[in-house]
Amino acid sequence: MVTTPSTGDTMVLNLGPHHPSTHGVLRLLLELDGESVINVTPDIGYLHTGIEKTGERLKYQQVITLADRMGYLDNMLDELAYVLAAEKLLGIEVPERVKWIRVLLSELERIGSHCVWLGTHALDMGALSMFMYGFREREKILDIKELISGVRMMTFYFRIGGLMADLPPEFEPKVREFLAYMPSKIDEFEELLTLNEIWIERTKGVGRISAEDAIALGCSGPTLRASGVPYDVRRVNPYSGYENFDFDVITGTNGDVYDRFYCRMQEMRQSLRIVEQALDTMPDGPWRIDDRKIVPPPKDELVSSMESLIHHFKLFTEGLKPPPGEVYAAIEGARGEMGIFLVSNGTGKPYRFHMRAPSLYNLQALPHMSRNHMVSDIIAIIGSIDIVLGEVDR
């Protein structure tokens, strides 16, 4: 590992990879002059599992499970990015109901992810109780995910051409209950932190990044919006019917840790707005497309129809076969622009499967944000960019 040559009397300190505030296994080499940080060199790859290589030997419908395991805090959003890329490659359009359900669940997922971010970020800064509160609220969302898919985290619920199953009847009351419950909890978070003097002292003016630098370094999501750039993929390139929903793109002004915190807090409220609209206007209709070359036939047909059996067999032995070509589909993940680059050569497996992980690009801006800060501020900055190492390292 090459470090930047020291200038004068400095010391190199290893932060991580086994350090709770690195949110996974991130290693930072801090070059210190006394307690102020001269330079930061991130060293990543500790969670590298070769997801992209593995994806090349799985069938298109199997790759969804890999997307699930990448950003493990917002896995439905990663699933969504992948299925949108695959659907774009196939050139299919899913029914309205599917789009609405996807939007609804994505926004719940965003709230859940932000709850974990808030809990861990505040924990790093000494607000211990926030950790409990954050995870308590996320639990409600995990319950909803369990209700629809049977799994709490790696749901595998979004499929190419539709969903795993339709929503169960208990879904709506459960989400309504959550909608009634959550706003007061966000108020509670804000009471604890937003105007808390210690919190403001620790976060205001720390880790600033200007709009120009944030754009040049490829930041996205709340990390970019806190600097005042209204770039939200949901608004810029609407996907999955986002153009039908009314929400505000929250931006900050200073681009510091506090603004990134504030943006995410307000984003949770906007997500609740979208969830409510999606629930109110949920259209009826099929929950997957009716194309036997893409989605499997209903199970009961398999015992009575030879054709269905053949379709089923072909689909699971050979896979879907998109035409040769390449597509890039981006969504607004909880951390920023989550993009999937998918190349097909006409076979049943992706020729190339690449993920543009927002955390990777946000982390790239960390050295820029950290210069001339104290070591304790670095902890605040790492928390504020909300990295998920599973996504950074893939």
Binding site: A216, Y328, R352, L360
Partner: protein
């Protein structure tokens, strides 16, 4: 400026150096001559307002010459659209780095070097990004096996062996 207009503008400005323009599923890709990529990138950023680089990646087409595609995903935060630039490079050849145009390319290019072994000329810090220093081979190449790789034994093994 729509992606179609972008490809028109590139053709008008760079002529035959735009080797190919592909339209697929509403996305436009321009294949650029390799040594002109920095110039084209600068033109896209300054004149066509593609101020945001979403991603740099590559594809390995094992049997084709030149073997690799290096792919740049451009986003315009002014016009809210996307465009894809591509260059082709063979094993052992170099691609000029686009870091002077978009600083975001730094880690993306390191990742491409790490996983594909495509070198970027002029990159200030071309180290492996994800794999450890000293790793042999570039895993996302199509001729790199997916399983059963004989890895070099770590040196510390000797220490652990008892006589």
């Amino acid at each position: 400026m729509s992606p179609e207009e972008t490809s028109e503008a590139l053709r008008a400005r760079f002529g035959d150096s735009v080797l190919d323009v592909v339209h697929f599923r509403g996305e436009v890709t321009a294949l650029i001559q390799r040594d002109l990529i920095v110039e084209v990138a600068g033109y896209c950023r300054d004149e066509l307002q593609y101020n945001y680089l979403s991603d740099v990646t590559a594809t390995d087409w094992l049997d084709r010459r030149p073997r690799f595609d290096v792919v740049y995903h451009l986003t315009s935060l002014e016009h809210w659209n996307r465009f894809r630039l591509k260059v082709q490079v063979d094993d052992g050849q170099q691609v000029p780095t686009v870091i002077p145009v978009w600083r975001a390319a730094n880690w993306g290019e390191r990742e491409v070097w790490d996983l594909f072994g495509v070198e970027f000329e002029g990159h200030p810090d071309l180290r492996r990004l994800l794999l450890p220093e000293g790793w042999i081979g570039h895993p996302l190449r199509k001729d790199y096996p997916q399983t059963q790789i004989a890895l070099p034994r770590p040196k510390s093994d000797k220490v652990l062996q008892r006589d």
